[in-house]
């Protein structure tokens, strides 16, 4: 399974959560690969306490090493490896869909059970595509207007991109592109208005959109929560997304604000190893147990 961790804003804790979730999962016996695809500043290795790696995905792409397996960096945790440099591929101007799919296939072919991809900040098309291609996209949000605004922007972009990829008619594709701009001439203000407009144009594409919306289940983690009200905001975000997009967001859990987090980052020691009894570490473990279970469920479905 491939999980992608994104959500728009920098500093919301994506790398911290990716690294610590990876460690928790590997301790549950799941073979994990952490993939750093942060366009803005790849530093998953720092959170893990590893020196800047000498090998990266580029070495495999440029055929300096024969197998993708060869560029995986071992970590101090058994069952946990790191792959860096995925951002180079996502950032490349010529990173076409075929190449991204090739990367997904390469990751799937690795000897692991789960890959956690840190997408970093922003909503570049490559990031959105990777988010949509993965088995589960996770948004990491802090309970602040800036973070929520960026997360909604990310979600809107991913949502419309998903719809655009699903429909066949070029006029509907154009309509979706135009709808993304709220100041459009057609008066389309939200996905429901868009749906009405699509129905008039092409009933087949309208049904495709309904099907896509039903299968789109982004996950949400609220980070740095300080109160019960903050925790409940996750449920409010879920209700807001249901009303706005018609999409069911899974609220995976929350991580409390905890000074131990910044201490662990400064020491370059992952929190769940440095201070597993801390409140934030306990929160991450709970989320990991949910991911581990969905992994088992997926395994049961496959067999």
């Amino acid at each position: 399974m491939i999980w992608t961790i994104g959500g728009g804003k920098g500093g919301s804790g994506k790398s911290f959560i990716t690294a610590n979730l990876g460690i928790c999962l590997s301790r549950l016996g799941i073979r994990v690969i952490l993939i750093d695809a942060d366009l803005g500043g790849a530093n998953l290795h720092t959170v893990l306490g590893i020196s800047p790696p000498s090998l990266s995905l580029s070495d495999f792409i440029k055929k300096r090493v024969p197998h993708l397996q060869d560029v995986l960096i071992p970590t101090q945790t058994p069952n946990l490896e790191l792959l860096t440099g995925a951002q180079d591929l996502l950032n490349a101007a010529d990173a076409k869909s075929v190449q991204k799919q090739k990367l997904v296939r390469s990751i799937q072919s690795l000897n692991s059970d789960t890959a956690l991809v840190d997408l970093g900040a922003g909503n570049a098309l490559s990031i959105l595509d990777f988010f949509l291609m993965s088995d589960g996209g996770i948004l990491v949000v802090t309970p602040e207007p800036t973070s929520i605004e960026n997360a909604y922007r990310f979600l809107k972009s991913a949502f419309y991109r998903k719809l655009k990829q699903a429909v066949s008619s070029s006029s509907v594709k154009t309509l979706i592109s135009d709808a993304m701009d709220r100041k459009n001439d057609m008066g389309i203000q939200n996905p429901h208005d868009l749906m009405r407009a699509v129905r008039k144009l092409d009933e087949g594409d309208a049904q495709k959109i309904v099907d896509e919306v039903e299968t789109f289940h982004p996950n949400l983690i609220l980070n740095q929560v300080r109160s019960k009200k903050d925790i409940e905001m996750g449920f409010s975000i879920r209700s807001a997304c249901l009303k706005y997009f018609g999409v069911h967001v899974h609220y995976l859990g929350y991580v409390v604000y905890d000074q131990d987090v910044s201490h662990s980052i400064r020491r370059r020691r992952p929190l769940v190893l440095e201070n597993p009894r801390s409140r934030a570490a306990q929160c991450v473990m709970e989320i990991a147990s949910k991911l581990a279970n969905s992994h088992k469920i997926a395994g049961e479905l496959e067999t």
Binding site: P145, H192, V210, S236, A240, F245, K290, L291, I297
Partner: protein, 197 residues
């Protein structure tokens, strides 16, 4: 994918058609909090006009569903003409039961069992009474069915370590709108007492 004007009052409040008055009250409070003009959850997503429309729809839905008489008339005009009843539509009811949990989670006010202790059998009884399938909890909360069966069946020897069990119990409780802390405390106390015996 329906606009607010096309949603039933139950959909607007995100409750099942068999919701109790307490559940409707909780859902209303959650909706009011979520779609408040200053709420962070609507920030940058909805326009002012859309928020106002949502607020009006929520008030209207609550006014009707909170009043037994009005709710009965609404149900008759909305569902009975189409030959639907809450019991005639099991799959839909299950689905909505899964959805309704969210506004109630972390509050623990929605459902109080008439049992003295949240042990596995009592939890199963509550779940069945609410018409929620194990599969729904499994899918929504990402917990395997086996684990849920072990929790309900009090198969303590197969349950995961305490830190994970607490997480599963919390999710389970949230999915039924129960007080999660109370469920965790009572279940673990019962488990430890049973182990001693």
């Amino acid at each position: 994918m329906k606009g607010i004007k096309d949603q039933t009052y139950y959909e607007i409040l995100e409750v099942s058609r068999t919701a109790t008055s307490k559940e409707i009250q909780r859902a209303y409070e959650h909706a009011k909090e979520t779609f408040h003009a200053d709420s962070l959850a609507v920030y940058s997503l909805f326009s002012e006009k859309e928020v106002k429309e949502l607020q009006e729809a929520i008030e209207e839905a609550y006014r009707t569903l909170a009043d037994e008489g009005l709710r009965r008339s609404y149900d008759q005009s909305c569902f009975q003409t189409a030959g639907e009843g809450p019991t005639n539509e099991p799959s839909r009811t299950r689905e909505i039961s899964g959805e309704k949990k969210s506004p109630l989670s972390f509050t623990g006010l929605s459902f109080h069992a008439e049992v003295e202790l949240y042990r596995g059998k009592a939890l199963k009884q509550i779940r069945e009474r609410m018409g929620v399938e194990l599969q729904t909890i499994s899918r929504e909360m990402k917990i395997t069915i086996k684990t849920l069966e072990w929790i309900e069946g009090e198969t303590f020897e197969k349950l995961p370590p305490l830190v994970y069990l607490k997480g599963f119990l919390r999710s389970y409780a949230q999915s039924l709108g129960l007080n999660s802390q109370q469920v965790i405390d009572e279940y673990i106390r019962f488990m430890e007492e049973s182990k001693k015996k």
